[in-house]
């Protein structure tokens, strides 16, 4: 018997100053035919999504620190509850910064070491994709992907013991690399510690990354590696037993 499941439903949080929500919505609805719900930051209901996106931009003008004000927006309480129940959450760029400020991921994102805003295509090395099955399940250990980056404050920092803990527990899932896959200072676009571009939480459902997967989902604009994160989620949702489906 074939069980037909509803198409994935994704909630995209929108703060004043967010700028990547439409790109995420475009990929989800136009490229993948998913159901998309843009959620204004003052709302408290996510609307029962299968996954939540914290997109890039400059939430609340990045005043004080990137993500520092956004983390107190009403919608974040629902995002935290959704994540705590095991729901898949992705934070890209400013979304990653919000996740660290909210304490949902360790560390912080600081001003790029060269003080420049960097907008470019970037090679990334995938590590321990099984640590983030909902988002990286379709990717392979050690493979190289290309995604755009676009940020002025993407330098990942954390205490050495936090970094060691992330490494030991296979929670560093993306690193800036060169074309050969080597993680070198020259390949590091912002001075991130240990070349870290993306990490996952201890339970594997919350992914934070500086690159923009939503900007690499159609061949016409230069690449489709970002689409593979969306496809991973789709497959993960299909494989998930109905009994553990979340409805918040």
């Amino acid at each position: 018997m074939t069980i037909t499941r509803a198409r994935p439903r994704v909630a995209v949080a929108v703060f004043p100053g967010t700028w990547s929500e439409r790109d995420f919505a475009h990929v989800a609805s136009e490229v993948l035919d998913w159901a998309v719900h843009l959620v204004w930051h003052t709302e408290v209901e996510l609307g029962g999504p299968d996954a939540v996106v914290l997109p890039g931009g400059f939430a609340h003008g990045d005043h004080l620190r990137t993500g520092a004000i956004a983390r107190f927006s009403p919608i974040m309480r629902s995002v935290e509850a959704f994540a705590a129940s095991g729901g898949p959450v992705i934070g890209s760029c400013n979304g990653f910064q919000i996740l660290t400020e909210a304490g949902m991921l360790p560390g912080a994102l600081m001003r790029n070491d060269h003080l420049e805003f960097r907008c470019d295509w970037q090679v990334l090395r995938v590590e321990a994709p099984a640590s983030a099955p909902a988002w990286l399940g379709d990717l392979s250990e050690g493979e190289l992907i290309r995604l755009p980056i676009s940020h002025g404050e993407g330098r990942y920092v954390a205490d050495p013991r936090v970094l060691d803990d992330l490494e030991v527990n296979h929670r560093v899932v993306l690193r800036y690399a060169d074309e050969s896959g080597a993680v070198t200072p020259a390949a590091n676009p912002n001075g991130s510690e240990r070349g870290i571009a993306g990490i996952v939480n201890a339970t594997g459902n919350v992914l934070g990354l500086m690159p923009h997967p939503e900007r690499a989902a159609e061949a016409e604009i230069g690449g489709t590696d970002g689409l593979r994160l969306f496809r991973s989620l789709e497959r993960w949702l299909q494989a998930r037993p109905a009994a553990v489906e979340r409805r918040l």
Binding site: L64, R65, A68, F72, T100, E101, P106, G107, A108, M110, R111, N112, D113, H114, L115, R155, V157, A158, D159, G191
Partner: protein, 94 residues
């Protein structure tokens, strides 16, 4: 209730790289200040608020710093607390 003014200084923790400070130091040296050894940048945040007494005001500023004004991952906070804005006014250059 008393009106308090807190001047909160948020600085990068020791060991955290400060590219803005390095850039400012380079600029100062370029201007001829050859003796500049180090520059560390930070933020100054002035908060005017009401609290019953100094102990309550201190506790409140501490909480403000802990929850929002500084990120303990990379920043430290310190502050001066006074009952009049003038009491903690900082000097200004011409």
């Amino acid at each position: 209730m008393t009106r308090w003014t807190a001047e909160v200084r948020v600085t990068l923790r020791h060991g955290i790289a400060d590219p803005e400070g390095l850039s400012i130091a380079d600029a100062l040296r370029a201007l001829g200040h050859a003796g500049v050894e180090e520059v560390r940048s930070g933020k100054l945040i002035r908060v005017v608020f009401s609290a019953d007494d100094r102990a309550a005001a201190e506790a409140e500023v501490s909480e403000m710093c802990r929850r929002l004004l500084a990120n303990p991952v990379m920043e430290d906070a310190s502050w001066d607390l006074g009952t009049e804005p003038e009491a903690v006014a900082i000097g200004s250059g011409g």
